[in-house]
Symmetry: C2
């Protein structure tokens, strides 16, 4: 089966067209079956393509001039869904001209446009933004929602758990991913009523393709003891950014410690293979590509400041979800739960 | 002026009586004016004191046999406020037998007992748990609430800002601490309605002894760009634990990277002064001692797993807040804001 092509918003992100095209080219060097629809300013895209001869035969350009601003309000961007590179990228999935969309633009606008164009899946109340985070083990952990929904009811959280488990099955190969709800303690009485109600439902449900294992506190997210961490978008955004910030804080301290004396500089040089390994493991580009789960189509958000390696990673995430048919997997799991009357609000 | 003595719950915490006493002794070696009321099992306390000859003359023992369990429900613990070491430690502050209380026991129970014994300050709706976190600069940042209040309204958040600023003035010496609200974005339209309403009030208020500078995202908490981070207890607990977990995650990765080959082991030995510096800066014991702000008395929560150095730090936090009269400072700032009618709900 040939892979449907991937639509790329060539204009989104802080790093510009060149990085988006370089990222796509890098992904294609690793997977030569990848094909692209590149959306944006044709002159700029052609100039960027000139550096990547292998790309021309694999790419079509969809020209447009309008671009969604990084700080633009989603409601305002939405009015230009038919003229902006972001809007047309998502629309290509709707029209069947691409199988998945990748953009590094404004997250709120991308969510709004994706919901409008692709619609939320039948039986699902709200889509969620999910990302992979590194752990101490070889497997990544999936966390969702990361900011698509500021507040969530128990029903939303249960549906997020189902979507996260479907995603985790694809990336970890585990038949029954270990799912936990993010909370401020592990005892049953901890946290908000919504979280407790979601836990009750997940505990009571039978036939779910996951092992629900209760709560996880934010300091255990990266331990690799669970595969899916479920939370509302506000908490998830706080936790994700706190982790990113703390990791950067520690590596900044490490850098200044290593440059504090000649002796430590020499030590740094000697131990460079070790610190490079650390850098590789922590580089956000290696985990780039957050996914909007729960839409009728695959949309991947690349980080605004991702480099070419990061963009390539986001493209690969999109291709993998497309090949493994995440949308139908989630639809199947959601319908299974509906028949258990667990879905009732 | 002699410092009122500090009551110590000798039985709380995972590490037992010896560590609590060793911590108090360590603090006293640095500040020989410290005096203690040690609450708990007299035999165990006497045995622990035997290792610290300097302590006997500076300590009185208040014997009791009952101890609050680490996982005990606060409501259950509260019924034994008059018989447990935690309850009697807090009660000593109420009775004027000590100026401040330090416990490493169950946080929820300590909060409940402290509220019952010391009462919330006049004009304040809810106390909050505040802690100091390290930054890239020489100053620590204060974050509150860290879990005392699961949900908070705008009025609570404004009062937390005032209490946090009073605390920050003591530890940073800054007359106008820079205060921000934790949020999932920095634009005015981001976050929940409660956060936006709190921001509106803090922006509109005149005469506050702080510079309110809007929102901070969780990845910037440790940058040292603000002095006080204000949030509800749920978000604060998530952010704090996510930071702790990520810092541990990175140092665990670093340790395994450094032990991955002979070369990196040698590099580690050569650069040990640098990594020791990092370890020192990140050691949670150096930042131990969370404070319940907003009570009629000083209560400090030492981390359950803190070592003697950590306990000493918590004791020093208690002494400092006592000497600098945090309770009256907060009362003064709260009354100033009341006259501005900002305090109206």
């Amino acid at each position: 089966m040939s892979l449907p092509r991937i639509a790329i918003d060539a204009m989104g992100g802080d790093e510009g067209v060149r990085v988006m095209i370089e990222g796509a080219a890098l992904a294609r060097r690793r997977h030569d079956r990848f094909k692209f629809l590149l959306v944006g300013d044709e002159t700029q895209i052609r100039a960027a393509l000139a550096d990547h001869p292998g790309m021309s035969g694999a790419s079509e350009i969809l020209h447009c001039e309008d671009v969604v601003g990084g700080d633009e309000k989603p409601s305002r961007a939405l009015r230009r869904a038919k003229t902006t590179s972001m809007g047309l990228t998502v629309d290509a999935v709707k029209r069947g001209e691409a199988g998945a969309a990748v953009s590094a633009g404004n997250t709120g606008a991308l969510m709004a446009m994706s919901k409008l164009a692709l619609r939320t899946m039948p039986g699902l109340d709200r889509p969620a933004l999910a990302a992979l985070l590194p752990t101490l083990t070889d497997d990544d952990v999936i966390m969702l929602d990361l900011g698509a929904n500021r507040e969530c009811d128990p029903h939303n959280l249960v549906q997020f758990a189902i979507m996260g488990a479907a995603y985790s099955r694809i990336v970890t190969g585990r038949e029954r991913p270990r799912v936990r709800l993010l909370n401020i303690g592990t005892e049953e009485t901890k946290g908000t009523e919504d979280i407790q109600a979601a836990a009750d439902r997940l505990r009571a449900a039978e036939g779910l393709a996951m092992d629900f294992e209760g709560y996880v506190e934010a300091d255990k997210i990266n331990r690799g003891e669970c595969d899916v961490v479920v939370c509302d978008g506000f908490s998830g955004n706080i936790a994700l950014k706190a982790i990113e910030g703390a990791a950067r804080f520690v590596t900044d301290l490490l850098r200044s410690a290593f440059s504090s004396s000649l002796r430590s500089k020499i030590g740094f040089l000697v131990s460079r293979p070790a610190t490079e390994l650390l850098k590789h493991h922590l580089d956000p580009n290696n985990h780039n590509g957050a996914v909007f789960l729960g839409l009728n189509g695959v949309v991947v958000k690349s980080h605004g400041s991702a480099n070419a390696k990061g963009v390539a990673n986001a493209v690969e995430v999109a291709a993998r979800l497309l090949e493994d048919d995440i949308t139908n997997r989630i639809a199947k799991d959601l319908s299974a739960i509906d028949t258990m009357s667990l879905g009732a609000k």
